[in-house]
Symmetry: C2
Subunit: 363 residues, 2 copies
């Protein structure tokens, strides 16, 4: 049985999206039980409206407050202690649910889940990861997307471990390749943090491909791309902006005159196939990695279909053991780095005295 | 008369692109004279092949060496002192040309032009700027795109001045709006450099819009977007990657079966209109700003049409006084910041003793 706590109030639309999506998902996945968190009366009303069925696919967990999209992290964390976000995170903490999900305010969701669940041993900072469709027909996992603006090389290494565990468990990549986002060699200066991170990654035992550039995201050169949260956030939003522009312009051109309308009607099946391939609703559901619990963030503007996709990611993360996968990857890494340190100390004949080059991965 | 020095040997294709593009441009712009820099015999042969005409539209400036795409900056700068890049830059330095252009190795072109021409007073570091088509039908000027990986707030301010001068002279925006690339407010931590840059920009007298996010590039929210070279380079390449993926996938879908082929044929005029709108060849020609001379970088893979667009940017930059525009903008800025400092000193009653908050803009 997989138990998922849903912040039913979150997102631009809230209940009319979260409840029908959960109900549909439960019908297709009878192994799932949902904890529906939020305003009890309104959840009941919505359930009645959408057909409660047998009712054993869900249980309501009341929460009297809602974190708004423009609430500050402080308000969300300190003044709304009975928010649907907080209660959903607490359900995971208390072992009532295996995962929690919200489509609400990202910063608040990040802060609340981090406060309630805490980070895993060996992880300094949680990171946000998502999948971006690429031209291989698959998707590239990218992180961090905005949780950490200033990162050290060690943080980037930790992101790589968490991203690899996600790609392995959710996208079923056996030995996911890791790329480090950097700029072309033709450019005069390199970035010190990225250079150091490359060294750590080379010694990590992870399947490190090397540096990748911006266009490798859509090429699908590697399974996982690691970068700091400033770069990741800007890149993700830039890509979303271009995708929206292309879709809008195409729509406009096909509506410009009667002949274009006819051409558009005839081309509809082709354009739909194309749209389905790059439909980023399919990839809705960013993972907040590095916490002692599985935490998913849906896009605020998600519709029922998109929210269902995010539920699927939560379900797969639980089913395929994302948490234990991440924990054991951290253990392996610590071992590889220790081995490398021992070896280098033995070679230099100073075993026992050598300054350990093992970066802080682990407690 | 506008005189442009062309590194005819640079780019993936070299002479078969640069010479025909120059000739076509000269036919359409009789006010232009080109200095064709490179291997004299090969340039002559290419000119004969493409019809030299009266011949007074161009003059050959011989250069015995060529900087290769994979030459290091050091090789380009120190070992190839008679390269076509070097001779083209020297022509600007010596007053033989008003602008120079190359489609070759970006790092080498940057280093050579900086070494030969030097930076303008008040500019610490040159920056690379380009225009990205946006959904208003115009384009967003973005800089830096990779010349400066680590930037201070003052560098970002300098980029804003240079970008505004470019948008004013080349894109004819009267009071170009400036946006500072940042991440959403929902994210936990801000970036210190960007926060400081915002303060400087607010005091600068420039038309500062405020922070913008990645999706504002394609929305066309502002005329000029400023960011450090790491972020700019990654974003630009990410957008190029997505654009290529969309074009490839669309082509594939329209070729999938006979019905799709028919739909594609009927939709061709619509798809072509769309393609023309977002055709980034139209926006070929990045500007290397902050130097004592107008320097343009064409895409290495530019065809004759795209190289002609880059020549047009060089022509417009000269015609509309980019250099004098930048210099006077630096002067104005220095004055605004000094006024602000004087005012704040007067208000606090410590004029003459106050630590000047004027950042280093100017010698």
């Amino acid at each position: 049985m997989i138990r998922i706590a849903i912040d039913c109030m979150g997102g631009d639309i809230g209940l009319p999206v979260t409840i029908p999506a959960a109900r549909q998902f439960a019908q297709q996945h009878p192994d799932t039980r949902f904890l529906l968190v939020g305003d009890e009366a309104r959840i009941r009303a919505m359930l009645d409206q959408h057909g409660r069925d047998s009712g054993d696919w869900c249980q309501i967990l009341p929460a009297s407050e809602v974190v708004l999209m423009d609430d500050s992290v402080e308000v969300a964390l300190r003044r709304k202690k009975d928010s649907s976000m907080r209660v959903a995170a607490q359900a995971v903490k208390d072992g009532l649910a295996d995962a929690c999900i919200s489509a609400g305010n990202t910063g608040a969701w990040m802060a609340i889940t981090r406060y309630v669940l805490k980070t895993l041993d060996g992880i300094d900072r949680p990171a946000i990861a998502t999948s971006i469709p690429n031209q291989t027909g698959g998707a590239t996992t990218m992180l961090d997307l905005g949780a950490n603006v200033d990162c050290t090389a060690e943080h980037l290494l930790q992101f790589a471990i968490m991203g690899a565990a996600l790609a392995k468990t959710v996208d079923r990549r056996e030995q996911p390749t890791i790329g480090l986002l950097n700029i072309g060699e033709e450019v005069i200066k390199g970035n010190e943090v990225v250079k150091q991170a490359a060294e750590l990654l080379r010694a990590s035992g992870l399947n490190f491909y090397g540096n990748v550039e911006g266009d490798d995201i859509c090429k699908g050169t590697v399974d996982v791309i690691v970068c700091d949260g400033f770069v990741g956030n800007v890149v993700l939003k830039s890509l979303e902006g271009l995708a929206r522009m292309v879709a809008n312009m195409m729509r406009q051109e096909f509506k410009r005159d009667p002949l274009s309308l006819v051409a558009g009607a005839l081309a509809t099946p082709v354009l739909n196939r194309f749209r389905d391939k790059v439909d980023n609703r399919r990839y809705n559901g960013a993972a907040l990695l590095g916490l002692r619990g599985i935490v998913i963030k849906s896009h605020g503007s998600a519709d029922v279909y998109a929210f269902g996709c995010a539920l699927k990611r939560a379900h797969e993360a639980v089913q395929n053991g994302l948490l234990s996968g991440t924990t054991s990857a951290i253990g392996h890494l610590r071992q590889s780095l220790q081995d490398a340190a021992d070896q280098s100390a033995a070679l230099s004949g100073t075993a026992g005295l050598a300054q350990s080059p093992v970066p802080r991965v682990g407690t």
